[in-house]
Symmetry: C2
Subunit: 430 residues, 2 copies
Amino acid sequence: MSKVKIALLGMGNVGCGVLKVLSMNKKQITQRSGYEIEVGKVLVKNKDKDRNIEIDKEIITTNFDDILNDEDVKIIVELMGGIDPAREYIIKSMKKGKHIVTANKMLIATYGEELFEEAKKNKVMFYYEASVSGGIPIIEGLSESLTANKIERIIGIINGTTNYILSKMSTEELEYDKVLRESKKMGFTESDPKLDVSGYDAAYKLAILSRLAFETKVDINSIYREGIESIKQIDIDYAKEFGYIIKLLAVAKEEVEGVLELRVHPAMIPINHPLANVNGCYNGIFIRGNAVGDLIFYGHATGEMPTSSAVVSDIITILRRKLDFCKQYGIKMDTKKVKPIEDTQCGYYIRITVEDIPGVLARIATVFGKNKVSLLSVIQKPRRKGERFVSLVFFTHNTLDSSLKQALNKIKNLRNVNMIESIIRLETFK
Amino acid sequence: MSKVKIALLGMGNVGCGVLKVLSMNKKQITQRSGYEIEVGKVLVKNKDKDRNIEIDKEIITTNFDDILNDEDVKIIVELMGGIDPAREYIIKSMKKGKHIVTANKMLIATYGEELFEEAKKNKVMFYYEASVSGGIPIIEGLSESLTANKIERIIGIINGTTNYILSKMSTEELEYDKVLRESKKMGFTESDPKLDVSGYDAAYKLAILSRLAFETKVDINSIYREGIESIKQIDIDYAKEFGYIIKLLAVAKEEVEGVLELRVHPAMIPINHPLANVNGCYNGIFIRGNAVGDLIFYGHATGEMPTSSAVVSDIITILRRKLDFCKQYGIKMDTKKVKPIEDTQCGYYIRITVEDIPGVLARIATVFGKNKVSLLSVIQKPRRKGERFVSLVFFTHNTLDSSLKQALNKIKNLRNVNMIESIIRLETFK
């Protein structure tokens, strides 16, 4: 297996997350990329800072030139954020022929064109999936999977902090100021939350998405922007009353060829629309293409792990594309076992019709118990007019399929039991 | 601009859709692929069949060898479905060095390994995004964007027909047989619906997804399968009563390394889970990765256009990867105009506090009318205890931002109007 050396610029939360992902999924990553990935150098501001992760002191440096001049480092992963010096470091790295992965939305949104130009000139790959909505593969989606479409609109809930605040205001009926204070205390919000609550963060992301979707340069200042600071509890109430919920939306539309609408502002959306269920730290992005119709991408958006998922996937993509494209078929296929259905566990809904006679329910429950089927709830439904039997409805805790079958085999032969009418599994996504 | 010739095998709904997409988005497709794509040959069974699309008779053939031996045809798009002769045609085409795009789930699920092997041997690209859930980019997601993850589970609503039937049973309180008959009549269901309603179609798709997610060969017969034929209205009712909805789920889990759970069956899911809102002809796929957390892909699944979106995007991907990878930066960027916010249209929610005096509402409504702001509804809220003012809540139809501003400028100066408290846009996704 060939080895490849990469370097990280910055070792904050996402930096630590990237190390974690590279280590915990090492087997899969090696198999998929075709390389053993070694983090050869890490750029930090302060060498002696305590970090929540084990890291070889030898590879830590405070001098960018150590990394730039290391011929073995083939990929630079920029996780510093902000414009300077990230921009300078990336350009210098490209000139040295190093491929780049970044999570820096501000940089891409403001200096993207310059950087893409530089990447092209130096024939290096430059990926930035992590810059928008953490692990949701929306950049790849727009740049690879939906290329057959003319994109007509993008409507996204793409800022975690504001969505957390609005969700909290809505469910706990609190005013904006109170939620903001609490969320600062909990560490969910930066001490200066302006970037988030005033819509700048969403605007950066919208600029990146619009550039890809509509293939146009986007001036970040051309995006209309309203924050959530003035949303009041009473309006959230009225919204609910009329079947709406308030979300901070980032909207991009091309209804007339060549003319875009680009705006970030709070908006009421119908409560039964899938985006209405995008709560808390989740993000959701609605896309309408003229061939594909309506799509929604939904997922965890904040946090070091989803972002690191995107960063590391980008690293793997670079390594794969360095190789022959046929490498994609080269992945060694395992032959994993499939568990027999009898060994699987689920909660179950079971409906049994019985004669309306005292003691039947108790006898059925006893058989369930003896066979290790633990009941979550039992409901006896009144007899329907003209029917001879009553329905007993059981919900079970997680149960082995084989235990359930055993129990039901006995139950169906019990006195006064008419029939096991329905057995349906429960899926709670836990 | 270079030209490239492709051939279609099959000219049913999806075939026609592919021609439509290639023509309506020609400008974008050419720009993104770097090629002018010409459909050079089309294989059909019956040359004289009437088709709902204009197509040059010259390129239609009933003889596959015409296509196989045409050196200029670089990409074969297989849209015939079924195993034979699709399998044979694809293998022969690969041996001739032609790249392949297919929408054939049955073929990939049953003979995938053989075909991938053949593609590798002949160094051709082989894409099949359209084989699962139409235009939802789930194949690309699993094979490219989520490669940093160990996938822990996939839970999908991936069959349109059964989801349509279950949604209809649930909303219209009809029994299975009745909905099935109606849906056949409407053309939503095949005359032999067994592939769909017994869960075979979902099992094929689950096999394809599991292969990618867990990197293992999957024997289609190892997937546990239950259909929706025995779902009764009464169980849908009870499910609702306890906060559940019934969906046909395709479930794949790897909880113990090397051992998979693979099953297709109806299941109750919590009504407030995002997948519960995947109704009618939509599909939704839930994925949990150990880095990215929970993701959902949601979109139109059936119909010629979403499927064609996937097929054509695959064609573009092949053309791009044939070229230098740097081609991705080579896309010509437009400089599109951004519409001033004043020229955009939205519905609006407006809350105005006024003194509780007769005639205020009428005067406000008159000003809205004069300024072309059309009202959808007006509600006067009773005065809250201890407050001097009452709230008037207005919902407007689509309104020009500039018209609204004009109206509000006048309204705020009206007698007895206290303040315009809130202006929030509506987004109805129409």
